[in-house]
């Protein structure tokens, strides 16, 4: 019988620009940060190329996160991070309206589980207010019980953070790339940047495939940010990956909570977040574990068990609901806690590194900041009239299976249709990896994890390749 390897069913993406092309900007890294920057420069008329070593976007830190759009209430005061979070949030609201992207304003509750934690609420509230996040209030355990009747009765009090919301962490950056493409940007997937040389006028960036020329390089290489940064000749920071493991509970649990349940941050205990997801699940996590490896995102049974126990403690009604998935993400943390954003004017090199744990929210804000740092004028292209198409896979909006003419349902747990899968495989920015296909459609990500559909998915991929 013929062996089919799902991983190899995706053809390597090709590039459509020639070797002599000198770009204004090369963005290295198609994580959420790189995607946001790509969009910003393209829309402002810079000739931009997005260079990514993987065969799809979001194959690094951005593939697994909690998908919360943060307000910045707990961000470091007077920091670039805070500015970018707030700007990013604002920009998201604008773009979401234009593109009809999913957004669910669940609010967050910072819950105090002990008297000691309760004492800290005041300070957290004040920090939030000083950060310019106005919609905050402290509520008693009685009010909390009305808002969250399933939460353990051990809760003492909570802060309501009205702005905290949920988004789709995968379609969102995909939308940024599509907007960039529409404005004339170019993509170079499966191009790993190995080295580079600045000739005083432009960079010759040596990749695993071809050499790419660009006047300015923006390094958004996430977990490899420090390595890529050394190409410019100096080492200014070090990435220390921080793993975050998660457990995802089945859709049956979705209505057990209404808001994002946040812990009171303390020095000793790393609390656990319990939140709904845009896809209709409950997510528990992430852990925070510093490590050397930039690739090791293995999950550990003991840690997952700890998360599970903690979740049962805080939300007893979770018991009896199936766990559908476990995974780990790596945050591109650095040797200092702040964002590592800097420009080297002599070398035309901008570093956007160490975007540790708020990059999904801040990416559009960061993009604006980086654009200003670059301080060059380009001629803006005409605004495209055609809307870009983003497939909705969240539960906040109509799903394909609720419409018609979709062919058949392939993944039964997540109700993913044949048409959704085919669409996700199509086009310049179609899925380039198994993970990419999952992120665009959610196939095999439900409770059976492929028991029903994995073989059919493999077949569809194979058919679409040939």
């Amino acid at each position: 019988m013929k062996q089919i390897d799902l991983n190899s069913l995706f053809s390597k993406k090709t590039v459509d620009f020639n070797d002599n092309e000198v770009f204004d900007i090369a963005v290295i890294g198609a994580g959420v940060v790189g995607c946001g920057i790509f969009k910003e420069f393209c829309e402002n008329g810079a000739k931009t190329v997005l260079v990514e070593k993987a065969n799809d976007i979001l194959e690094g830190a951005s593939k697994g996160n909690s998908a919360i759009l943060h307000t910045g209430f707990d961000a470091p005061p007077n920091s670039l991070e805070l500015d970018c979070i707030k700007k990013g949030y604002e920009e998201y609201l604008k773009i979401k309206k234009k593109l009809d992207l999913p957004f669910l304003n669940t609010k967050a509750l910072v819950v105090a589980w002990s008297d000691e934690q309760e004492e800290k609420l005041e300070a957290i509230l004040n920090k939030g207010l000083n950060n310019g996040v106005k919609e905050l209030e402290i509520i008693s355990n009685k009010e909390l019980a009305l808002k969250e009747p399933n939460l353990s009765k051990n809760a003492k009090a909570a802060i309501v953070v009205h702005g905290e919301s949920l988004i789709d962490p995968w379609s969102t950056p995909l939308a940024y790339v599509k907007l960039g493409l529409q404005a004339g940007g170019k993509l170079a997937f499966s191009h790993e940047v190995k080295d580079g040389h600045f000739n005083g006028e432009y960079w010759e960036i040596k990749t695993s495939q071809k050499t790419i020329k660009a006047k300015t390089v923006i390094n958004a290489a996430g977990l490899y940010g420090d390595i890529v940064d050394s190409i410019k000749g100096s080492k200014d920071f070090k990435i220390i990956p921080r793993k975050g493991q998660f457990i995802i509970f089945d859709k049956t649990a979705y209505n057990l909570i209404n808001s994002i349940i946040l812990p009171v941050p303390t020095k000793i205990t790393k609390g656990v977040v319990i939140t709904k997801t845009a896809f209709g699940n409950i997510l528990v996590g992430p852990t925070a574990e510093d490590q050397e490896s930039r690739t090791d995102s293995v999950t550990k049974k003991e840690m997952l068990k700890t998360l599970q126990d903690k979740a049962y403690d805080l939300l007893p009604a979770l018991k009896g609901h199936n766990i559908t998935a476990t995974f780990a993400g790596l945050r591109p943390a650095s040797d200092e806690s702040h964002y590592r954003v800097m420009i080297n004017d002599e070398k035309n090199w901008i570093t956007v590194g160490g975007i540790r744990s708020t990059g999904l929210t801040s990416s559009l804000g960061l993009a604006k900041h980086v654009y200003e740092l670059n301080d060059k004028k380009y001629t803006k292209p005409k605004k495209a009239k055609e809307p870009i198409e983003i497939q909705n896979i969240t539960e906040f909006q109509t799903r394909d299976y609720e419409t018609s003419d979709y062919g058949k349902i392939i993944c039964h747990c997540e109700c993913v249709t044949q048409r959704e899968i085919q669409n996700a495989l199509k086009s310049e920015i179609g899925a380039g990896t198994v993970g990419g296909l999952k992120r665009r459609t959610r196939v095999t990500m439900g409770r059976c994890q492929g028991f029903n559909c994995q073989a059919s998915v493999a077949q569809i991929c194979e058919e679409s390749k040939s």
């Binding site: 019988m1 991983n7 049956t252 995102s297 766990i323 198994v434 095999t444 409770r447 492929g450 077949q459």
Partner: protein
Amino acid sequence: MNKVQIAIIGAGPAGLSTAIELSNMGYDDIVVFDREDEAGGTPRHCGHLGFGIFEFYRLLSGPDYAKKLTKIAADRNITINLKHTLVDISKDILTFSTTDGLVKYSAKRTVLALGARETPRSARLVSGIRSPNIMTTGALQRFIYLHNTIPFKNPVIVGSEVVSFSALMSSRKAGINIAAIIEEDKELNSFSILKSFSETILQTPVKLGYEISSINGDDKEVKSVTISKDGIDETIECDGVIFSGDFTPESALLQENFKDFNFANNSVFISQAFQTTNKNFFAVGNVLRGALTAFKCFFEGKRLAKFIDDSLKQEKLKPQHVKIEADENIQWYYPSLLDLNYPSKILTNLRVNKKTTGRIIVSVNDIDVYEKQIDAKTYTNIKIPREAYPVSKNDTIKIRLES
């Protein structure tokens, strides 16, 4: 809104046999629904022999068995609506997703015959990398029997239930070498003869008492698994991992819609008449408890038909359900309701969670009324008789295991 007298969801052995039997009894307003594009249920992708002996007196392969059942239904002019995925049952309205749009049905009686699935790696919280080549037996069988392809050449199997050996046999036939069978328990979770069969005839080592402590590899490719026994690690090279068995009902939709959900069984409460706490809804087959053989599901369907007939003929008859609860040592049990309207010899059928020598004790309102000595493995079917102790409507029946 479409109207139908009896709607049956799931065209597997349980659903089809219910439909066929009802048709034999003269019912003709029946529609069977299934989300797949072919009827027959799970046997469709169990290409090995092992079906049909008790139903049709001949040994059939799964696909042949599925075809036979489907043909009988077709000969009886039973409507089977394929590519109909039940997505909602709130307010007793059945909503299906179809390529022609959402379709709604209201039925006098609904039969839920949704089957079961295996517990995947994620829910077992196993450490290690993620890869598409970490899958369940069900997924593998579909590769082999529905698509004629194989995803790997040298995987290990985790688990030792009957289905694990089904995975072993299917793999052999497809040219896949099984590097080892790994079982956490010290004994097989199926007939012990299968160990020597695997080892001597198939040369596949069976590692008993080993826990799978991590799946290793890089960039989505499985390279090996680490297994451990008494704190000592061992590495087995392989290119895939098959998690087999540990079936769980396909019951998410029911969990969302039934206020009273039986978490112990991960399914709805049902009486000996297969009736749920909603008197118009019945459930049958593996959706009740995870995997039993196809013929058990087939005969359950046949029995269910009589109860549906009864309930349609006696619209006024109110069920008199007494709840049966079981402790955490019980793997599953059914029925989980005792309907006092029906005489019954069996209180419930059950399996234990681990190999046990001990006693099963039944209590009514916390007073012990029955006990039974058992020496049971995880796959032993235990019948608990309904003896002459009195039970009335508001009582609680509890079952516990003492070892």
